[in-house]
Assembly symmetry: C2
């Protein structure tokens, strides 16, 4: 059997990155990267990452500690003095949960790893269409990042950023995950709770709305399940 090519997938432990891993798994051997960045639900997300990595039997895994993002602050995810707002899915403003330039930090670390292990792609589960308005989820951002990789790595290094779900809505992502038998029951999305999802933060709201559109029950536990 010919060895498959390797792709790194940045897996937060949430729904989007889980489905992204399922997509990458169709074509590549998976090398999974997880970032701790001092976010409130760090322990729960790490558990979700390990559960998903076990599910896919990923031999190559790396846990990256980005303590600087917590030191730097500026986000309700990493600074407990900033309140996590209840969801406002119609708002066009950048929410307080925005972690400054987070995706660029994640991608640079993954590209360093990719260059060493010879991976040819770095998958990230960024979502633009149905996103919360984070600037580092825009398709143009990832195109520009590919130029930075070409210019900033060895001439023989060829690594592309892949964003397979960037134009999907949450319900399309869930549907794709179900088609690919992705372990959605192992994922964690809530920004503020670690035992049962709160059901009211942006991340819970987007997720619940997606399942509700499809008429499917979200398989993870919630404190409350508002109708969105």
């Amino acid at each position: 059997m010919k060895n498959k090519k390797i792709a790194i997938v940045a897996v937060s432990g949430g729904l989007d990155s889980c489905v992204t891993a399922a997509i990458a798994n169709n074509k590549y051997d998976l090398a999974l990267a997880h970032i701790n960045y001092g976010q409130r639900t760090q322990e729960r997300e790490l558990k979700a990452f390990n559960d998903i990595a076990d599910f896919y039997n990923a031999k190559k895994r790396i846990i990256i500690d980005f303590n600087h993002l917590a030191k730097i602050g500026g986000s309700s995810l990493t600074d407990k003095s900033i309140k996590i707002n209840d969801a406002d899915l119609e708002s066009k403003e950048i929410p307080s949960s925005y972690v400054p330039f987070r995706n660029a930090n994640i991608l640079t670390a993954c590209v360093s790893w990719a260059e060493v292990i010879g991976a040819e792609a770095v998958f990230i589960g960024a979502v633009f269409e149905d996103s919360s308005g984070y600037p580092d989820c825009r398709p143009d951002f990832f195109s520009a990042f590919n130029s930075v990789i070409d210019l900033g790595t060895k001439p023989e290094t060829k690594i592309r950023i892949e964003t397979p779900i960037i134009h999907m809505n949450k319900d399309e992502i869930i549907q794709k995950g179900n088609e690919l038998n992705a372990p959605l029951h192992l994922t964690w999305s809530c920004y503020q709770s670690e035992d049962e999802a709160c059901g009211v933060c942006d991340s819970c709201a987007l997720r619940l709305r997606g399942f509700q559109k499809l008429g499917i029950e979200d398989p993870i536990p919630y404190k409350i399940r508002p109708k969105y």
Copy 2:
């Protein structure tokens, strides 16, 4: 007195970043960032950083721990099983000291900090002309990185990467440092020793050659001072 604008300078503790800080200091209030990435001379470089930051009386400082670059390996600077080669200043090959995509990792962390503290520039002491051939020191790399910043941060955020010494030779950098009274005696460049510089690694060789061209004594201690 009007408040000066803030610039972040990535200060490794070496000659190039010290002179870069001296240049930034002419126009900005300095916020200094230092990266530990598991390099062999980490403690000595951190001391040099703090000495330089004290010299400039920098109130804003951040020490960023990039343990992942050591975990990832692939460089003689972070992996002790890879030998640090003696200098070959004529070689056009990328040396074993190349840390994969290191400058991109440094810049992304600095940009996150810049967005939170409202800095308008991130200075980095990258050198292209007289460099060791690292791909992430190319001017085009930094131009592409500026596009990534524009696209990946909030619309109101305006941050530029500044590389003021990128086209200078080592002797020109030393001369510029002396003109600006930069504390070159506090810097540390050696890749492998922490008490006295080895005098034979790429970094020592480039530095010694620069001082020798100018007919000036390098103010730091060396085990040996070959003629380059």
